[in-house]
Structures are given as structure tokens and as C-alpha cells.
Amino acid sequence: MTENSFKVFKRIFDGYKNSATQSLKIIDCFLLFQFLTGIFQFVYVFLVGKFPFNSFLAGFISTVGSFVLTINLRTLVDPENKETKVSIKRAFVDFLICNVILHLAVFNYIG
């Protein structure tokens, strides 16, 4: 059973390695980083309690927000995406601006 699942995973992983461009892979690494950060913060709060709640919110929203924005960037940068036609530069600039605004709010909340 486990051998089969291992094979499936390997196949998916190889498919991914082949199809994705390098920039996509970089973005994916970044995504993973943000995801893990968020998970760790959540686990900490789960273990230790909600006080102070505003700091947890700040950190969590920072990671979650950045995750969402990065996913957006990834969809726009993906060459297989033929529906939306936005240039990469435009996507990147949007990504930067939205991140600035998000982190302005986050820094307000850290407290």
C-alpha cells in the first residue's frame, strides 16, 4: 500500500519538476515558507493560549495575506494560464504594492 502511494507521490513530484519553470519553482518555495510560518504560529497559539491576541492576528494575517498575494502572482506568472492576460511586470508591481499595504496594517496590529 505504502509503496503504491510513494510511487504516486513520486510521479506527481516528477511531473511538477518537469512542467514548472524556474520562476514558478522559486515562487513555490516562497509559498512553502509562508505556509510553514503560518502553521507554526497557529500551533503556538493553540498550545499556549490566545494572549495577546492582537500579536497573533498580526503574525497570522501577515503570513496568510502574503500567501494569498503570492498565489495570485503565481497564477499570473504561470505560462499555462491563458485566460488572464496581464504582463509579468504588472503582476509583480501589484504584488509589491499589495504587500506594502498589508504589512502597514500588520505592523499596526503587532502592538
Binding site: 524556474q22 519553482k25 522559486i26 518555495c29 516562497f30 512553502l32 515558507f33 510553514l36 510560518t37 507554526f40 504560529q41 503556538y44 498550545l47 499556549v48 493560549g49 494572549f51 511586470k89 509583480f92 508591481v93 509589491l96 506594502v100 504589512h103 502597514l104 505592523f107 499596526n108 503587532i110
Partner: protein
Amino acid sequence: MNTKNILFICIFLFFILSTNINCSTQGLNKIITRGEQKKLMETFEKAIASKNYKKENFQSLLQASVGYQFLSGSSIWSKVQKEDLCQEIKTFFEDVSLNTDEQYESQTTIWNTLNSLQSGSIIYNELQCHSKKKDNKISKLSPAIKELLLKSINGKSSRNIYLSGQTFFELEKTKIFNEKETSKFRKVILRSFGKMLALLEEDDPEVEFSQYVLELAVLVVENYDSETSYQELADDDDDGDTIIDKAESEDDDDEEEYESLEGYLEMSIEELLENVIELIADVANLLVENDGQIQQSFFNDESGKPDLEITSRVLRSFAKLKKLSINLNDDDDDDDDDDDEEIFSEEDLIGLAEFLFSRKSTQEISAAYNVITGLKSLDEDRVFKKLICITADNEELSIKQKGKQNAMKLLVSDLFGNALPDDSIEVFLFRLSPVSKPEKSLTSHFLLSQDPKSKKYVADLLAYKPSIGFYNLEVRVSHKSSKDGKSNKKLRPFNTADVTILTKIVGPVKVSDLEIVVKQPKSQGGSVLSRNKIKYPETSDSAKKDIVVKRDNVLSISFRVTAGQPSKASKKQKTGFQQNINNLIETHQAMVKITDLETGIERYFLAMQKTKKYQCTIDINSNDGNMDFSSGKYNLELIIGNFFFEKSILWNFANINIDFGDLSEGEQTILDLSIENQKIHPDFLIKDEIKHIFNPDPKRPPKVVSNAFTGIMLIPFVLLIVLLYIVGFNLKSFPSLKNPIALITNLIFIATLGLLVLLFLAYFFKLTMFKTLFYLLIVGAISSVSGYFTLRNLDK
């Protein structure tokens, strides 16, 4: 006795009686005191001191100045910043712009503007703004105001006609209108006045309507020659027709409007004036419902309550009209005045004065102004019958004090507390009778003398040896001719005035013949166990008799209340009322209070009057008297109180011992409960002060755990770097040194990104949001410019 003697006696008696029967009128027991007048003056001064010179406040300023003038005699304008006020008025008259079309300007706004115009023009003339400085002179009246004035005078509201009419006449004095305008205005005002008079003849005129017609009448009489008639002003109408022509015209509207004027077309102002006064009498009669309601119903507003402003306005204008008509008829002798039928009877006048007095404690300027002017009008010589006010310094006298210091001092004055001239009046103490027995009179017709220092009349009531109680003191003031035979004009017309003053005579009381009887209850024979007599003010202890009361006994306490000092003092005093000492007095409160000295339980028992003695029965066996079965020492107190006692009596007359013996279980519980109840419930005691404590912060994890997790958070970052290395992170697209511009812009762009991070850090540690946003703008601008160039280069 022959017929001559009988006739003579009859005539003699008639003359004696006639002084009593002959038109005795009522007077007032109140005045507006100096203190109250001072308070009102302060209200007026406050209005001026506030220096609120806006056009909305012109009316208040004018009212304050008139009121102040009446009260103090001096003008308040010296305290006003004349420059500022004149300037304000001038600006108002020259610059105001109004939409006089009725649909755009509400009635309230028009009325407010007219009010301001009227008050402003009067103030302008009183301050003489036009003569003092050229800057303050109104050079030109705004056309909007002229239009408004004309429109209001031609309109249907008597209030607006009056306001605009007065404004015109005040402004005319400053010579701002030319001849043509003046004559036009004068004609129109007179015509409108006639119309209003004609409308007054209809049934049920509204009060609001008639109060302003009086004011208009004053205006007309003051400003038009008494010989003027409509005839003279009828001729030069705008379209060439005379008023008479219009009355006969075929146009229905014109005919209707001018028909009503026909009756007035040939009257002179003098005759008009007589008509006005007659019409006012008719109005008064129309509005009178019952005799007792006269003053209330005449000056009511729509809701049926008397209105201060309407009352005051009608009194003011009526007084002015009366004075003007007297001036016109100046040649007549004094005697004719007596024959005038008075429109306002004495009850009316007293009711009006009482109504105005009821409003005298006010802080509002308009109310104070109305009260003062109303009272002044009532007080006016030769207009109304003189209202005589008699006020006493002290309405309560004590029998104990003797001599002139304890006599009642009466001030005979007018409404404002100004004493009437003493050579023209005589003050009599007419009757002193107890309120409970009005037929019994302690005195009759006694002339009072005047105290030369205070100018007050001294009534030594105690000389009549009254016993304590409420008395009606009737004082009569009668008019007498002065030494040279001519009667004092200012005081006419009055013959006599009666005032009833409610006085209270108080005095000391004592208790006599107090007896405590302890006896068996009737069911067991009713025999007397002990009998003690106690003298006031001693207690049973001084007699050294121990009164013991047992469970079944009945306590009976009887006593008498009489007027007089305790027996020690009465021997020394040779008072005039010794004959009253045995007079028994009814008291308002008479009760016996039993207090348990140990537990504090107390009970009250009423004493009832039986024949000549008061009697109080305490049955120890009953629910009230069992004192919750508490044995021990008890205090017995007698409480006597009434209005006329100088000091009510609270006399501890006995200390008794009540012995219940052994108590049954039920009785013991009752006693215990009672003792419990005597303690004050903790809810009624002072509690500790609460000091507010905020919620403490919840527990935090130990620092080790937090630091460990901070370390754990760095792991994803390390992981990121590792993964990037695996994926193959490179800087191939980075512009090389061959392309310096691109390189620089690229570096600048990346630097700005780094600056943004630093900016956020700075925001967290030091900056405010505003500063951060400001820096963000700068950094953002740089980054967007450099970013644009960087990305453009990427293409190449």
C-alpha cells in the same frame, strides 16, 4: 321724643353708617418688594452687560432699558457701548436683504425682522445715533425694508401693522424719508387702523387681534393731529379715486373693503379715540364669562390660561390711551372723573395685580419687562382706581413679648412699596376677629398712629388681649382731604380700601393636672392599683415614687393643656392675660411615647380629648401595649404640638418598670425577633469603599517556551534558503557593469524595497502613522520610478 329728634338721630346714624357703607373697595396684601425689584434690575443689567448686539437681541435690549428705567429712574444706555450698537443698527437697516414674497419668507421670519426693526429704530432714536457721529447715521434705507414695511402695513395682521407703523414713525424722526414717502405711509397707516377698528365691531374678536389694535390706537393718537380725519387723507390715493369713491364703486372687493370705513370717514382722531375705548369695553364684556373669572378670561391666550405678554400689553396701551384722552380733555374739572364708568372693576384690577405678582420671580428679560410695565400701568395716576397695598412686617406675634417692639407694623403703599403720603390717608384697625369665630370681634374702628422713623402704622394688637390662634385682621385705609381742602390728585379716585391680613398669635402653653393611674383590667374588676400626680415639668423620679406595672395592668394617663407659663414663672409675671390662664386649649398633636431603655423598642399612643381633659389609655395586655414582652425600665414621654404654641412640649414625665414575669415560648420568640429587628440591617450601614481593580492579564507561557518557538520560526526561513539553492536561484538577469544606468536603477529599486522594510520597523519603534505615510509617499515615489526603469530594462 318728637319727630325732629328722631329725624336728627336718623340723619346722624346715617352719617355714621355711611362712612362704613360708602363704596369700600378691596386692597392688596402683597407688594413687589425692594429686594425683588433689585433682582429684576440685575436681570436687566445682565442683558446689557452681555453686549450681545445682534439684531435678534434688539428687542431684549429695548425691554431691558425700559424696565431698568422704570425701576431705577436712571437710564441704562450710559452703560452700553453706544458706538457698537449704533453701528450694528445702521448695518441692519442698510444691508438687510429679504425676500418679501410671502411664499419664500415664513411668517416667523417676517415677524422677527419687524420686531428687530421696531426695537432697533426706537433704540436708534434713544441713543441719538444720527446726531452724534456721521458714521452712525443711516444714509439709506435698504429697499427691501421699505417694501416690507409697506407690505406689512397693507396686510391683514394687526401685529405687523403695528410693528411696521411704529418703525416708520421712529425712522421719520431721523428724516430719512422724503415728503412723498412720508405722506404715503401716513395715509396707509391710518387707513389700516380704520379697517382694523371696523373689523373689531364684528362678533367675537380674537384677543390677539384686539391687543394690537390698542397699540395701533396709541400710535395713531400720538402721531396724528387730533383734528385729522380720513377726509383729509382720502384724496390723493394712487389711482386718483378718493376713499369715498371707492366705497361706492362697483368693484365688489373695493366696495367691501371701503364700506366698513364709511362710519369712520368723517371722524376726527379724538372721536376715534372715544370709539376705541368704548370698543374695548365691549370686547371686555364679550369675553367675560362669570363674575369670578373676569381677570382670567379677559387676557387669556387660546388655551384658556392667562398670558403675561397679552395682559401686560393691553394694560400698557390702555393706560397710554387713557392718559392721552385725559390730556385731550384737560379743561374739565376734577369732579367729572368720578362719574367715569370704569371698564375694569376692583376685582379685575386686584386679579390682574395678583397675576402679575405671581410672575415676578423671573430671570427672563421679556417676562420681567412685562411684569414691571404691567404693574407700572396699574399704578398709573388717573388711569385706574388706585390699588392700595397693605403689608405687615411680621404676621406672627408672640404673647410673651410686650411693648412697641412686638406690635404689628403696617406699610400702606402702592404696588411698588412706595408709602402713600401720610397727610392724605387715615389708617384704621377695623376688626380683629378669630378665624374660627368670625362673629366675635375683639376691636372696632381704631385709628392707627404712624411711627415717624419708618413711616409705618403701628397696630398694637396685644393690647386687646387676644388668646392664641389665627386671627383675621381687617385694616381700612380711608382718604381724607389735606389741610387746604383740596384732595390729593395722585390718590384719586378711592374712598376707602379694606385689606384682610391673616395673623397668628402664638404663646406659651403648659400641661396641668397630669395623673397616671395603674389599674386592673375591667375583666378582673378594674380596681386602681396606684395613682400618681406629676407636676409639669418634673418627672416621677423627683417624687421618688417607683411605678411598677405588671402584665395584665392598664395604664391611664390624663392631663390638661392650658395657655400660660409654667407655674414658677407665672407668679412673677404680671401679664395682662392672666385671665386666660385657665383657658383650655385644643392641641393638634397629643400623644404618649413609651421607650424601652434597654432594647430601644418604642410605641406611641394617642390621647383623646374627653370633656375637659385629655386621656390616654395603654393596655399592657393588648398587642400594641405589650411592648413585645420586654421587661425592664421604660421612659414615658408626653408630646404636645400645635401651630400656636411658642414651643411644643416634649416632656419625660415618668420612668416606669414593667414586669412581665416568666415568658412563654411564643412570647420569648416575639421578644427575640423584636430585639433582632431593632438592629440596623447591614444594608443600611456604611459599607467598605470599593476600589476598582481591572482584570489582571492572563497567564503567559514561560519565557523558555516562547524563546524556543521564536527559534522554531526561523526554521522555515532556513528551509527557504536551502530550497532556493536547490531550485537554482541565480542572478543572471541582473544588469552587468556594461549597462551602468540599468545597474544603478536596479540597485536603487532594491534599496527602496529595503527602505520600505526599514520604514516599517521605524514605524513600529518610533514614528506616528502620519509620518510613516509621508515617508511612504517619498519612498514609494522613488521605488515606482526606479522600478519602472528596472522592469523596462528586463525586457531588453
